[in-house]
Symmetry: C2
Subunit: 252 residues, 2 copies
DNA sequence: GAGTGGTCTAGACCACAGA
DNA sequence: CTGTGGTCTAGACCACTCG
């Protein structure tokens, strides 16, 4: 029976957190205190907290301290149903619906402008590298905790001078507005990857580099198979689960 | 102009790896060598390698060393098309197809038996906690690199004594065999989460705890909406991307 | 047994948040 | 200013892999 390793200490603290010994959103004991409690040094406690951060149980901000993560139930993003018209019009959009379902309060910012899209987005939209598009950038919160960044890119020939360059979008969101403009989306595709957050993302989403984000590249196509909108969702993995469901075509 | 931090060192090595200075699959310089090169200590180099591991660029095994990750292009899992009958029958299954598309050689093991499923799986299948089901456990490799663990659970009243308890499954895979038995799946759902690997997963998938796995809980339903099969895919995030695409129902 | 990374100690300085 | 975590040094012992 040796000394507890950092994994053992993490296991002890994990049990305490899951048992509710620390209030959600409250400050965790400082590293020197934990070091004393477990008869070790800050370096080891650092490792312990890295484990707990990776699991999404705590979250650390330099200078402030480590807090017990406020959001234990994960937000569920149901990709297919969220783009049905019914869902879009209910509860002012899919995100609002998803967050309210957990009993939390949704909120979001929107910034509208023009910018050169990332190279991969430009390639999907078939716009020349370096050419500007309309960007509608949403930043989303649940109970004031930032939980998602989602810039949306639309080619200029579709969006320039239209309601898509305005902040107010009305019921049904973007997909409905584009349909009004004659660009009805009939097919969606999403590609999911996972990576560490970059500096800006880590900053806004209050994440450490021990945590990860989903990157969902969502593309909407019109009936003539033109990609008319790309939305890149960046979401901390410890706040979200992703759902997809579909019918199996018996003929194929 | 201070000393380079571990992030700076990581950035230098990242560029070197991406420029192809190290052969894929070859050993990376040992920590003491890197410490000397950058005028620092092993502790700092440890941090550097943690960053590179998190990005999936290198992979470390204790006692052996750090290797430059063999697989730069990620395997693409297209959830919807992989369950179409055409795809299933092509190239001996969806996994084979996905891997061959990258020019790599797929391989997989299958273990068939009975076991008590995890609680969440039991709940989905509506079987009593503690009751056994048939488990078909696949372990998958690409060019002999382990890339996925996927146990599949089927209730006993469906699978007991059938071909589903045998190792050889024939063309079209499980879904076709279950259809033959009168359990045709007409609807699929998948729920995606991300977490650090547990000890067994880290061991088999040759991952460190700095890396993450997707956990995809796939459920197949028959026409009377009964869940007849649950498959839990565990896949390192740095080896895979996930694709979904669907038609938008204009009526809804 | 030699060489690898995993982990730990003891101590230090720094960046940052908040009163 | 005080207290927080971020990062680093210098050194040590251990667990594991492989020849």
């Amino acid at each position: 029976m040796g000394k507890p390793s950092y994994r053992d200490i993490a296991a002890i603290l994990r049990r305490e957190i899951e048992a509710g010994d620390y209030e959600r959103g409250s400050l965790f004991p400082p590293e020197p205190v934990l070091a004393e409690r477990f008869g070790t040094t800050r370096a080891t406690i650092n490792n312990v907290l890295r484990v707990l951060r990776a699991e999404g149980l705590v979250s650390t901000q330099q200078g402030r301290g480590t807090t017990v993560t406020a959001m234990t139930p994960r937000i569920n993003r149901d990709a297919i149903s969220r783009y049905r018209k019914n869902s879009r019009e209910r509860a002012r959009g899919a995100f609002d619906y998803e967050v309210r379902k957990l009993g939390m309060e949704p909120r979001s910012d929107l910034t509208v402008g023009r910018a050169v899209p990332p190279a991969d987005v430009a390639a999907i939209l078939n716009v020349e590298p370096g050419q500007e598009v309309v960007v509608r950038s949403r930043r989303m919160y649940a109970d004031d905790v930032p939980v998602q960044i989602a810039p949306s890119y639309i080619p200029l020939d579709i969006a320039a001078g239209t309601v898509l360059e305005q902040s107010d979008q009305g019921p049904g969101g973007m997909v409905s507005r584009m349909a009004d403009l004659g660009y009805r989306q009939v097919r969606m595709s999403e590609r999911i990857t996972v990576r560490p957050p970059d500096e800006e993302e880590a900053n806004f989403l209050q994440m450490s580099t021990d945590q990860r984000v989903y990157v969902i590249t969502h593309v909407g196509y019109t009936a003539d198979d033109r990609p008319v909108e790309v939305c890149v969702h960046v979401m901390p993995t410890h706040y979200w689960t992703l759902d997809y469901s579909w019918e199996v075509d018996p003929a194929e």
